[in-house]
């Protein structure tokens, strides 16, 4: 395609002009409301067969809803769905699979203590004898592993797999059921960069085999790297569909948000003061006795952001958890503003001004069936501000919730809506709002912008920097090296549970990458060994 074929927002609903391919999926006038929220407004979308079609949009724009409709999880109030030119009704995920649509869920729907093989055939045994299905699946698995680089050991127990491997199992599951179209909703949010690259290689091969891929992501460079076509959603509407080659990141960003977005962080130099947080020879062993944090010492001073770079699973999560009081160290000390806080529980630590923005918002940071108000006090339920004698002061809590929802632009701005009903990015904004607005003296941050749209990333970054500039200390863990480099004033590199180096944020990415891989260092070998030990 050439740039002259660009479809600009105003004629986004026009039929595609490239007739060489036939549409795999066509959505015509799809409309969906949840009460007062108009999640999808009269959506028209054509997805060509054999392409990777990206969908981007702000948090709450309606992307997941649209995919859920396609996957038979929700029913559209209006509109039609055509698959290979045939009108279909999809009222359950079973029907979706029958029509060749497979979905890779973000919360993986795998049985943790089943093997890969058992998970793949689960619900699609087809035979009375599981053994027969297993043979069939095993053969297919071998073939798929070869064709698409989808390597996972068929007999490995799912709970021992890395997130990236679990995702591959999800893809295998869909392919095993005969999926022609694969929907992936923010698949890279939980992956390491290497795993994401691997995923993209798989997707590219699937496309080359004639499969169709629908990819939702907030990372525009992924859109540029892998998609053939990109569609932009805004507040429930499909505002543009472009061939990817004809657009730039800036154009997409602007179409998403409706204004120019600052794609890089704007921050002044730091002015570090006294040491607020210090770890000395901190060591953590996990339940199996494996050392996950290994003799770690560092300091974070007032007015600086210290970033921890590292390939996921090298002890960063455990480091944050031990600092936050969720798990206990087996050796070493932690001090907060000079006071020993080793072994204190999260409630005590919060009282002393140490806040924690957890990386897993759905399992740790939120209670999904609770309303916005109840989630806004999670961890601060003892605050006298929210109490009236023995009782919780729901009026005061609702007022707080409403005001932080407004200042963080949580959509919909309904503080009584249950957390489960907010879109992924808006859930993240709720957690950020709760922790940052408390103005803690030390903030531990895990993956602050995972699943968050570019506009909100800009906003959250600004808030973190404002916190720093007020003289607070921030320890940041993120899978996004970009984010670490642009936010941090100092970077610590973790590998195999140890801090293997420290560098300035200007250090080239490749150099940090080498340190992350633990190259030239014994720590790297150790982490290798551990990873291998975990996979039978």
């Amino acid at each position: 395609m050439t740039p002259s074929e660009l479809h600009y927002p105003d004629d986004a609903t026009a039929p595609p002009r490239d007739h060489a391919r036939s549409p795999a999926i066509e959505l015509i006038g799809v409309d969906k409301r949840f009460g007062t929220v108009h999640a999808n407004r009269d959506i028209h979308l054509v997805v060509e067969k054999g392409t990777v079609h990206g969908i981007v949009g702000e948090n709450g724009a309606g992307k997941s809803t649209l995919m859920s409709i396609l996957y038979g999880f929700y029913h559209a109030d209006h509109g039609r769905i055509l698959i290979d030119g045939q009108e279909v009704t999809i009222s359950s995920s079973h029907e979706a699979i029958r029509h060749g649509i497979g979905m890779v869920h973000q919360q993986f729907m795998l049985v943790d203590n089943f093997t890969v093989l058992e998970n793949i055939i689960l619900g699609a045994e087809g035979d009375r004898l599981v053994a027969k299905a297993e043979r069939r699946a095993r053969a297919l698995l071998v073939r798929l592993a070869r064709d698409y680089d989808l390597k996972v050991h068929p007999d490995a127990v799912v709970s021992t797999l890395s997130v990236g491997e679990q995702q591959r199992v999800e893809i295998l599951k869909a392919l095993f059921r005969g999926a022609e179209t694969l929907i992936l909703d923010e698949p890279t949010a939980v992956l390491t960069p290497a795993e994401a690259d691997h995923l993209f290689r798989i997707l590219a091969q699937l496309r080359d085999e004639g499969k169709t891929v629908l990819l939702i992501t907030h990372k525009l460079r992924e859109i540029m790297a892998i998609t053939d076509t990109v569609s932009v959603m805004r507040q429930g509407e499909m505002v543009a569909t472009w061939p990817t080659r004809a657009v730039t990141v800036e154009m997409i960003a602007e179409a998403m948000v409706g204004r120019r977005v600052l794609l890089r962080v704007d921050k002044g130099p730091s002015d570090p003061g006294r040491t607020l947080l210090a770890a000395e020879h901190l060591t953590v062993k996990d339940g199996r006795g494996v050392t996950v944090v290994d003799d770690v010492s560092f300091t974070v001073r007032a007015g600086e952001i210290v970033g921890i770079a590292g390939v996921a699973g090298n002890g960063q999560s455990e480091l944050i958890e031990v600092l936050a009081g969720i798990i206990q160290p087996t050796a070493g000390h932690i001090t907060l503003a000079g006071e020993d806080i080793t072994g204190l529980d999260p409630a005590d630590l919060r009282d002393r001004g140490l806040a924690h923005l957890p990386e897993d918002r759905q399992r740790v940071g939120l209670v999904l069936p609770f309303g916005g108000c109840e989630n806004i006090i999670l961890g601060y339920q003892d605050d006298p501000k929210y109490a009236r004698g023995l009782f919780l002061d729901w009026k005061a809590i609702a007022a707080t919730a409403k005001s932080v929802f407004a200042s963080y632009d949580v959509r919909p701005g309904n503080a009584f809506l249950r957390a489960a009903l907010f879109s992924g990015g808006n859930q993240q904004k709720i957690v950020c709002a709760r922790e940052i607005e408390r103005d803690p003296s030390v903030l531990l941050v895990g993956q602050p912008t995972r699943g968050v749209d570019i506009g909100a990333i800009e906003f959250i970054h600004k808030r973190l920097i404002a916190l720093r500039d007020r003289g607070k200390a921030i320890l940041l863990v993120s899978a996004e090296l970009d984010e670490i480099r642009s936010l941090s004033d100092r970077i610590l590199v973790m590998c195999g549970g140890r801090i293997v180096g420290e560098c300035a944020p200007e250090t080239p990415e490749s150099e940090i990458g080498l340190m992350m891989a633990g190259l030239g260092d014994t720590a790297g070998e150790r982490s290798e060994r551990r990873n291998q030990g975990a996979t039978p």
């Binding site: 997941s64 995919m67 859920s68 999880f73 929700y74 029913h75 559209a76 109030d77 209006h78 509109g79 009222s91 869920h105 973000q106 919360q107 909703d185 936050a324 009081g325 969720i326 529980d345 999260p346 409630a347 005590d348 630590l349 919060r350 924690h356 957890p358 759905q362 399992r363 740790v364 940071g365 939120l366 209670v367 999904l368 069936p369 609770f370 109840e374 006090i377 999670l378 961890g379 339920q381 003892d382 109490a387 023995l390 009782f391 919780l392 729901w394 489960a420 009903l421 992924g424």
Partner: protein
């Protein structure tokens, strides 16, 4: 995008679903009645008149309701902490011992003086019986369902031992304590209200019904308006988030079970201090298990529990009347009918959920199609 998002409108969830369940239960019970050659309509009529036909019958119904509210609340509080307390039967049995000890010790003193102590004893003994299973769950991970069932058996054995060897009536083989004096025994409303010209006949409903109402309000306040209730719900819904929030799940599990056991214990005030006027071997008479169905049906909300308890009260009182009026319907038959209601309204409470989900999710789409046609 998670599966949890699929849900019913509140009206369907809280009204239509329970209604459909109850109707199914009655339909199934009706078939049983038909099978033994009786007229179901007639049976329903007798049950309703028997339960609500006059002041005395209503009094009996409310007496049953009282017990079911206590055990229903008990199960509900534990449930909010993510625990399935199967032990109200045993907890109220042991509470019966406590109430009997207090009442017998103060026997002869006016009831209004003894009542606060009896209430305290019932709560303490009920909570105490829940403490060990709670501790085992919280600190040792022993499953509360198993331990509370075991403690029901232990309570049953304990009370037999005590009534035979320690607390039994002197010079009698009967497994019961001596009667309380009239002054100490909690009077029935029938007695209390007679001077005002209200005739409740022989019905045993008594001030513990008011205690049940107060307990319902208290549980509602506790669960949704106190910090402790918030912590209980957080632990029950997402214990990882609870740890993150600085809440100790083990502590909350123990506290919630103590409250739960205490609520079950209150049943003994109704039974021992008022209705029986002495300690008998079977304090709860199955009300502990009915409480599980009541809590399920009432969706662990005090208002729902009060309504479900009332429904089961009607069923028990109406069922008793049925035995008198239709000899063919034996005591066992009544148990079958009650069991059907428990089965459909309680245990299979979500049987119709997928169907309702489909109906209420499809409707808008269907309308859209009609509009296009």
């Amino acid at each position: 995008m998670s599966l949890a998002r699929r849900e019913l409108p509140p009206f369907v969830d809280y009204v239509v679903l329970p209604a459909v369940n109850v109707i199914t239960a009655f339909a199934a019970a009706g078939l049983v009645v038909l099978a033994i050659g009786e007229n179901p309509i007639e049976v329903v009529k007798i049950m309703i008149v028997g339960a609500l036909g006059n002041a005395e019958n209503i009094g009996y119904t409310l007496y049953y309701t009282t017990n079911f509210i206590f055990t229903g609340l008990s199960v509900a509080v534990a449930y909010h902490a993510g625990l399935f307390n199967i032990g109200p039967e045993g907890q109220s049995t042991v509470a019966g011992i406590g109430v009997a000890l207090v009442c017998l010790a103060f026997d002869g003193a006016p009831w209004w003086l003894v009542l606060p102590f009896a209430v305290a004893a019932s709560v303490i003994f009920g909570a105490g019986w829940a403490l060990i299973p709670a501790w085992l769950q919280a600190r040792r991970g022993s499953h509360i369902v198993i331990t509370t069932i075991m403690f029901n058996f232990l309570a049953a054995t304990l009370i037999v031992y005590l009534l035979v060897n320690v607390m039994g009536k002197a010079g009698s083989m009967a497994t019961e304590t001596r009667m309380l004096t009239d002054a100490t025994r909690l009077p029935f409303f029938a007695t209390l209200l007679k001077p005002f010209g209200i005739d409740l006949g022989q019905s045993p409903v008594n001030p513990s019904f008011l205690i049940a109402i107060v307990a319902s309000v208290a549980v509602w306040l506790l669960v949704w308006h106190t910090r402790l209730g918030y912590e209980i719900r957080t632990v029950g819904t997402n214990s990882q988030a609870a740890v993150y929030a600085g809440i100790d799940p083990a502590r909350i599990i123990i506290i919630a079970m103590l409250i739960s056991g205490g609520l079950s214990g209150l049943l003994a005030v109704n039974e021992v201090m008022a209705v029986q006027g002495r300690l008998l071997i079977d304090v709860a008479q199955g009300a502990g298990f009915v409480g599980i169905a009541v809590a399920l049906m009432g969706r662990s909300h005090p208002l729902g529990i009060a309504l479900a308890a009332f429904l089961f009260g009607i069923l028990y009182q109406g069922g008793a009347e049925l035995g008198f009026d239709i000899p063919k319907i034996t005591r066992d038959m009544i148990v079958v009918i009650q069991a059907l209601v428990i089965l459909f309204a309680g245990a299979l409470g979500n049987m119709y959920r997928p169907m309702l989900e489909r109906i209420f999710a499809r409707r808008p789409a269907a309308r859209a199609h009609e509009a296009e046609a």
